[in-house]
């Protein structure tokens, strides 16, 4: 709990409340259960891409390839299903592709000591290119049996919401409660100390990248199932969304400091703003201006608070 307070969690909640208030003032049916439940489908998708990014940022790295990985996973799902492989197995193949892609990123970053920004910039082109190449650029229909993942509900809750929230809770629990978490934190703040403390730095970092690839691939599946077909141009610019969420949620790109709860709330805020503005028939361009402003102001505010704290000590 202490960690939550230390981060900008309360600021985020405050922003969320303000956003909700403004939105409900602008549109009557904003604060209805139907609307909000439907919104959670989008929220879950956006927050899932932020989850992997948050993990990678915790190690002091960055993963620009998440959007492309999402497309690659989507296309893999479509093609394997088309080839007659059972849906469950096809989904597993997509997830494995995600893990493998993450492992490639992790290997290049950790073993070859290349900057994460550059490596994932290159794999971003690579993954998207492969997706384009193997799919021929066209949309691939997926079997009806998979629709449940993207369009179904568990009780009143959309499937995505349940999956993503569970993923967040599991990861956050793991980071706060397990050795893995403190290892990643140590690596993020000071990698050399971690090496000298006998921590398996390379392996732990590669795990973070693999998880990022895994969640990107998972999102690829969920997204594909919601829109009912696989395509290679999904998820473009999602890497930017992911970074925005993580940083808005309280992460420092220098590594070591992140907040999973913060990332989740940040995703909720950003999606609600987008949806709310769309509902209120406000141009998407104004939305992008508003989201850009929020990102800059939020981060500037975080820095301001952090610098205040330092002086007190």
């Amino acid at each position: 709990m202490k960690k939550l307070v230390k981060n900008n969690f309360f600021v985020l909640i405050l922003v969320l409340v303000i956003v909700m208030a403004v939105m409900s003032g602008m549109s009557d049916y904003f604060l209805t259960a139907d609307y909000l439940l439907n919104a959670t489908r989008f929220i879950s998708e956006t927050s899932m891409i932020g989850l992997g990014m948050t993990l990678v940022i915790l190690t002091g790295g960055i993963d620009l390839s998440v959007g492309s990985m999402m497309a690659l996973s989507s296309v893999c799902l479509g093609l394997t299903c088309q080839a007659g492989i059972p849906a469950g197995l096809a989904a597993a193949v997509s997830l494995l592709v995600g893990i493998a892609g993450g492992a490639l990123n992790g290997y290049a970053v950790c073993k070859m000591n290349l900057p994460a920004l550059i490596v994932t910039l290159a794999t971003m082109g690579l993954f998207r290119g492969i997706a384009l190449g193997i799919s021929g650029g066209s949309a691939i229909p997926i079997p009806k049996s998979l629709y449940f993942l993207g369009q179904g509900s568990i009780g009143p809750l959309p499937v995505q919401l349940v999956i993503t929230t569970t993923a967040y809770i599991v990861i956050a629990f793991f980071i706060y409660k397990s050795n893995f978490g403190i290892y990643l934190k140590g690596i993020g703040y000071n990698e050399e100390v971690a090496v000298f403390s006998g921590i398996k730095v390379t392996w732990n970092k590669v795990k973070a990248y693999m998880l990022s690839g895994f969640f990107a691939a998972f999102l690829g599946i969920l997204f594909t199932c919601r829109v009912s077909s696989a395509k290679a141009d999904y998820g473009s610019n999602y890497e930017m969304d992911a970074i925005t969420i993580a940083v808005f949620g309280g992460a420092s790109l220098a590594g070591g400091k992140v907040s999973f709860a913060g990332s989740y709330i940040a995703a909720v805020i950003i999606v609600l703003i987008r949806l709310g503005l769309t509902t209120a028939a406000i141009q998407t361009e104004i939305q992008s201006v508003i989201i850009g402003l929020i990102l800059i102001l939020a981060v500037a505010f975080n820095n301001f608070v952090a610098s205040k704290k330092k002086i007190e000590i």
């Binding site: 960055i62 290049a108 070859m112 000591n113 290349l114 900057p115 920004l117 550059i118 490596v119 910039l121 290159a122 794999t123 971003m124 082109g125 690579l126 993954f127 998207r128 290119g129 492969i130 384009l132 190449g133 021929g136 650029g137 473009s236 930017m240 970074i243 925005t244 940083v247 790109l253 220098a254 141009q283 998407t284 361009e285 104004i286 939305q287 992008s288 201006v289 989201i291 850009g292 402003l293 990102l295 800059i296 981060v299 500037a300 820095n303 610098s307």
Partner: protein, 320 residues
Amino acid sequence: MYKNRKAIKALLVFYVVILGVMIVKAPAFFSFENAIDILLNTSTTAIAALGMLCVLLVGDIDVSVGAVLAACCTMTGILAKAQLPLAAVIMGAVAVGALLGLINGVVVTVLKLDAIVATLGLLSIYRGLLIIITKGSWINGLPENVLKIGQGRWLNIPIPVYITVVVALIMWFILNHTEWGRNFYAVGSNQDSARLSGINVRLTRIAAFVVCGVLVGAAAVIYTTRFGGIQSNTGKGWEMTLISSAVVGGASTIGGEGDVSGVFLGALLVSALGTLLVFFGVDALWEQAVQGLIIFISVASYAVDFKKLKLRLSGGGEKE
């Protein structure tokens, strides 16, 4: 005056290999027109990548360049359609670039934000504002006198190629022979010492962003006049092209390393890839994958190269 010769060497080897393969596989590649075409494609990328280099040198990064390009292109189009003289059109585009660069620099240094986060936010702000202002309309039908820049030739070589060479020379001169240029390197290499040496770190970083904006503005003039029109999504994903060019050319993303010749070669490789792949008979669909792979390999090669060198040194015997 230390240069990252390793990157340049690796790139040159890369070029020799590619050209060697092309001689065997596709002799048609070596036509004058094809060379001109590649150089023409390189021009905008190279000019703007030199701007990106400045930002990388001081240890920052600018991912808003795509939006800045779109804004500068729009300015070029608007001024050209207003029948203003050529000089005024160019000045206008460059001024917009400089202004946006200034905003980037000020936001990053005064609010003390991570450059990647700040310019990411500014990217969506610029894009949004631009479309609001232009109402998303495309601009075309530019007057003839302006189109000459992008489409004209002198001694059978396109004007943009000349502009690129001149810009590259100017940047080389600035980065190697002026106080400001060297300050970029000093700030990127060790910010605290630079401050203690009496360098105005904040101003230097802002200057780097402004130079980047100016060069993107210059690239925008060529871009607009070459294609004779601008779409509202101009420059989308362009930041990745520029960063790749700079990094493939040996610029470091943590600052202090990189030079004009390397970045120029990097930009040439990145923008020639498309043409190359066509000659190799690579399906257009696979183009992006191969491009990504080549950038990945070329960046990874620096790391591999280094390890081998270390091994050779510790083994005692150096072959060269």
